[in-house]
């Protein structure tokens, strides 16, 4: 639920309830006041009759005026309780009756007991109440409509800076070099929000940059000791009289140092791609590069007696040649390394996609994780960074890379 919607709902609901309750109270109060006034008028009339009886010793003549009727009934020994009540008021020459108010009382004239009933029409006060009711209703509707409009337009414009900030936050990219630009507003809270968001983004960026620099430096610093180890091993080998066991040990150290070095370089390269610090793109024919790579890997393919089938069409592609090199190296060396002797590799290249499929001693890779960093099959001797790098490079150039396992073939499809 949107904030404005939520606010509107609460606002209108309370306003309506309060207005209805006020209306009811208003109605009751006015009704009470008007009835009270009518009753007072009736009492004045009663007093006038009593005064007349006292002065003249007879009843005043019963009257039927426009708004008032007075009637007398001889009571004899009966008694009557003085009380007010509502009844219908019939006007002399009109058929329809109006609401009325009557006072029944008694008066004694010359020892004779009379019941006096004084009636007044309530039509005027009813009209008044109706008028007040309609005015109140009109005001209520006007108020609700204006509330709705205010909420809609004012709220929208008041919250605009908030949504602007929200959008910048959504678009915030840690690796991008742009800063969060706050929209100027004269609402204090939003200004505070902008400042808070800005400083948060700055500190996150600063931390990220520091972390990056740290990782970068750490990775680079590791290279020199690795170079020292490697060079000392190279020297150790030149010495005389090593036996095969020692040779084997040295060989294993070499392999590990080599892996460590490659791991470091891969991580640095991944970071570089992530930060888009990559060499310029150029247009070249991907087919030529693939042919070149096949030549490079020829001995390895032959070594495993792999049948390599290629269906290559010309494909002009715009990307960093350096990264294209790494992408093909990784895909092809995987296809060879995880293959078995006498297996097959098929490379298809057309205008829209590059498909490399190969047989393998491994079963299907985990589709969801195949391109994750450090994901590798238990039998793999690699570092588990090759495919992650392929994915990064593809992503950088807006290519799509997918993996499927079909008919015992591992299929990697790069869609341009």
């Amino acid at each position: 639920m949107k904030l404005a919607q939520r606010y509107n709902r609460a606002n209108l609901l309370t306003s309506s309830i309060i207005l209805v309750i006020t209306g009811v109270i208003y109605y009751i109060a006015i009704h009470f006041i008007l009835t009270n006034k009518l009753d007072k008028d009736l009492v004045i009339e009663e007093k006038e009759i009593q005064a007349y009886v006292l002065n003249y010793g007879k009843l005043p003549s019963p009257g039927d005026f426009l708004h008032q009727k007075v009637a007398y009934v001889k009571l004899g020994n009966k008694k009557v309780n003085r009380n007010f009540f509502y009844d219908n008021y019939n006007r002399a020459n009109e058929k329809e009756s109006e609401p009325g108010r009557t006072l029944i009382t008694s008066v004694i004239v010359n020892g004779q007991n009379y019941q006096v009933s004084i009636s007044k029409s309530r039509a005027e006060s009813e009209d008044l109440i109706r008028l007040i009711f309609f005015i109140t209703l009109a005001v209520t509707i006007l108020l609700l409509v204006s509330l709705l409009l205010i909420n809609r337009f004012l709220l929208q414009s008041i919250w605009r800076p908030f949504y602007a900030t929200l959008n910048t936050m959504k678009a915030f990219n840690l690796t991008a070099k742009t800063d969060i630009k706050a929209q100027q507003t004269n609402i204090e809270e939003f200004n505070e929000l902008n400042i808070a968001v800005g400083s948060m983004a700055d500190s996150v960026k600063k931390d990220y940059k520091e972390l990056k620099t740290f990782t970068d430096n750490a990775s680079h610093e590791m290279m020199t000791p690795l170079a020292v180890i490697n060079s000392k091993l190279d020297l150790l080998l030149q010495g005389e009289a090593l036996n095969p066991q020692q040779g084997e040990l040295i060989d294993e150290i070499y392999n590990s140092v080599g892996r460590l070095g490659r791991l470091n370089h891969s991580l640095l390269l991944l970071a570089k791609i992530e930060n888009k610090l990559i060499p310029e793109q150029e247009t070249f024919n991907l087919k030529d590069l693939i042919v070149e790579k096949i030549k490079l890997f020829q001995e390895l393919v032959n070594g495993k007696n792999i049948t390599l089938t290629q269906n290559l069409l010309d494909k002009e592609i715009m990307m960093s040649k350096y990264l294209a090199d790494i992408l093909l190296n990784n895909l092809l060396s995987n296809a060879i390394r995880h293959n078995y002797n006498n297996g097959t590799i098929t490379i298809d290249l057309n205008k829209t996609e590059l498909i490399i499929s190969n047989t393998s001693k491994d079963n299907t890779l985990d589709q969801a994780q195949a391109f994750e960093r450090f994901y590798k099959t238990p039998s793999s001797e690699g570092m588990g960074l090759g495919l992650a790098m392929v994915k990064q490079i593809a992503g950088l150039h807006q290519f799509d890379i997918t993996y499927t396992y079909q008919d015992k073939l591992h299929i990697f499809c790069l869609t341009f």
Binding site: E221, I229, Q238, G247, G261, L268, N330
Partner: protein, 225 residues
Amino acid sequence: MKLLIIEDEESLRDSMVSYFKGEGNICEIAVDYPSAIEKINLYHYDCILMDLTLPGGDGLQVLRELKKINRKEGVLIISARHSLDDKLNGLDLGADDYLVKPFHLSELKARVMAIVRRKNFSGNNILIFNEIRIDVMAMEVKINDKLLNLTKKEYDLLIYFISNQGKVITKNAIAEHLWGDEIDLSDDFDFIYTHIKNLRKKIVEAGAKDYIKSMYGVGYKLEQI
């Protein structure tokens, strides 16, 4: 060859000196930026091996200095940075080659030899090892004046061996030299064995001696018999 090794890491510097010495090579060292500048202003070298990150200054500045005083020394940059910017900057400023740490000393030597060969090139660029004669420009190998038919990789391997004659070269170094250091070939180096076997066979069949031998299962060595 007279070499200047500019490297602040003592262990690494010592390794390089000790790998290069002998065979009439002279190695001078500089441990920081000022001493590097001093050395290049005082002496001439066949090749300068230089680390880019130096105490007291940027290695690239040494390159600029060399250019300023109009010197034609071959320069090989050694850097922990794989950065392409570094690479391009260095090569733009007149460096001849770029080697990324960690590296094999055999690779370093092969690169230095290639630079020196190119720099000293005077009409004929011929590499001779006993009866083996390699015309580097034409990429031709002759044994006893008979043309030897080698594949590109066999040719590269032979030059690599001759550049590092008398030294044990590991299988890792060979793999990286032939396939590049960015390719993760895993630890399966069987194919190198086959490769070297073929090269040896071709050389022996052409009438040369079998100079290459396997060492402790770790690598191979080409040496005078």
